[in-house]
């Protein structure tokens, strides 16, 4: 039970502000021993409203809460940023495929791209903290799947995967089908078996 709402809001605000990384409601609960998750969530929403339209905003990236500067100030802030080395096209595409098709196996990624995934690609994405291995798919060979992380959401300022640009359109156009292309046409046959899928089989 929240005894003093105003004090709880202040503490929550200070906590998220002081933390050196985004906090989950579970983390916050340690500071509020007698408050349940729903109440903290309620407080967070109030706090987010308080910052609405300010230069700092409270953001929720997949359940991880943090303060960020408002994105529309980007240009004016014009902070000097060390430019990260740009991701390769292969890495960008792989990231997009993982984000939009997750959970997705390496073989599926290769199938969608029509090319084998270089060793470094998933490494780089994992190292950047944007993707991580998910559960194994319960199919023969139990291949590992890849999923995006909260760090990915946080980096691109997304609240959840459903906020990915154009995801609804892609879905309704049937383009978020991870199956090999042939399986998406009514009669399944032996299309690409020789080329594209060989690469993938050898990987698993």
């Amino acid at each position: 039970m929240i005894e003093n709402r105003q004090e709880s809001l202040r503490l929550l605000e200070a906590m998220i502000f002081a933390a050196d990384k985004p906090l989950q409601v579970g983390d916050m609960m340690q500071w509020f021993p007698n408050v349940d998750e729903g109440e903290i969530f309620e407080l967070l929403k109030t706090l987010r409203q308080d910052y609405d339209g300010r230069g700092i905003t409270l953001v929720d990236n997949g359940g991880y809460w943090s303060f960020r500067t408002a994105t529309d100030l980007s240009e004016q802030l014009n902070m000097e940023v060390e430019v990260d080395r740009k991701l390769s096209r292969a890495a960008m595409e792989t990231l997009a495929i993982i984000a939009y098709h997750q959970p997705v196996t390496r073989a599926e990624i290769e199938n969608i791209r029509g090319v084998a995934t270089g060793r470094g690609t998933l490494d780089i994405l994992t190292e950047s903290g944007w993707v991580k291995p998910g559960r194994r798919r319960e199919t023969p060979g139990r291949p590992l799947t890849w999923v995006s992380t909260s760090g990915f959401l946080s980096h691109f300022g997304l609240e959840s995967i459903t906020d990915l640009p154009g995801i609804d359109d892609l879905k309704s156009a049937g383009l978020l089908d991870r199956r090999p292309a042939v399986q998406t046409v009514p009669l399944s046959g032996e299309l690409f078996d020789e080329g594209g899928e060989d690469a993938q089989d050898s990987d698993e």
């Binding site: 500067t69 960008m92 939009y100 691109f156 300022g157 292309a181 042939v182 046409v185 046959g189 299309l191």
Partner: protein, 272 residues
């Protein structure tokens, strides 16, 4: 799914001449990517693209690449072979006596390929859109100087009596080994035995050119009381005897298992 008209920085400029396409050959991410680029070149919606025309363009492209002796990866050739097959299927109407019941029709295969192209294009497009989103550290910023939440970890030390006792046992055990001084054993070394054997063999009576046979045990000192010394003497004597036999200085004989071992000195010209 439209084209990239609104995104001029797309990785491959549109409407490239075939030669320009060839120049970029190595930058294609596989045959599907190349097909996609060729398809974009047709400047029509992918949904309305002519797979047949596309297959021809691709085959043409590969031929040109071959003429230029460009290194063509195997999967490009596999795709070329497959597209040639697809082309034939699309051109030749399927006959009824074809045993291709389990095979897909040319149209279905073309549809699958079109789907793959559309899907890849969609992914390439959203990859760009994704990186156009505001990014942390570029367009939005976290707190510059975070002070970190101060969580003091206060340990509750765990130990039970057994831990204390076994720790003490470990110390006692260490000291035991640290203070241990090995006893000095009375043993006969092989060197000692060798010397003794040589000395005594020389004093044996002669029988012709060689000495008489003598029991090896008779060379051991008589006054041995310590069992360990006795055993070590016997072992060293035997080893020495074998060494001498190897050098041709003595003969050794034993009449049966566990019977006494006899030894005699051989007289050799080169001796003494």
């Amino acid at each position: 799914m439209g084209f990239q008209e609104d995104k001029p920085q797309s990785h491959i400029p549109e409407a490239l001449s075939p030669d320009a396409l060839l120049l970029k050959f190595e930058s294609y991410e596989g045959p599907i990517d190349l097909l996609l680029t060729l398809a974009r070149d047709q400047k029509v919606d992918l949904a309305k693209i002519s797979i047949l025309a596309l297959a021809e363009q691709y085959l043409d492209f590969i031929d040109k690449a071959k003429d230029l002796r460009l290194e063509i990866a195997a999967d490009y050739l596999v795709m070329a072979a497959w597209l040639a097959y697809l082309k034939s299927k699309l051109l030749v109407p399927q006959s009824d006596d074809d045993d291709a019941e389990e095979e897909l029709s040319g149209e279905a295969l073309a549809e699958a390929l079109a789907f793959q192209l559309k899907r890849l294009e969609a992914m390439q497009k959203v990859a760009e859109q994704l990186f156009d989103l505001p990014q942390l550290g570029r367009d939005m910023f976290a707190r510059g100087a975070s002070d970190g939440l101060d969580v003091t970890i206060s340990p509750q030390w765990q130990a039970d009596l057994y831990d204390v006792l076994s720790a003490y046992g470990a110390i006692a055990r260490r000291q035991e080994s640290a203070n241990y001084k090995p006893k000095e054993w009375k043993l006969m070394s092989t060197d000692e035995a060798y010397e003794r054997l040589c000395d005594m063999l020389g004093k044996l009576p002669r029988k012709g050119q060689d000495s008489v046979w003598a029991m090896l045990d008779s060379f051991t000192p008589d006054d041995l009381k310590d069992a360990l010394l006795t055993k070590s003497t016997r072992a060293s004597m035997f080893t020495s005897a074998l060494e001498m036999a190897k050098q041709g200085d003595v003969d050794i004989r034993q009449d049966g298992l566990f019977k006494p071992v006899y030894i005699r000195q051989k007289d050799r010209d080169d001796r003494e």
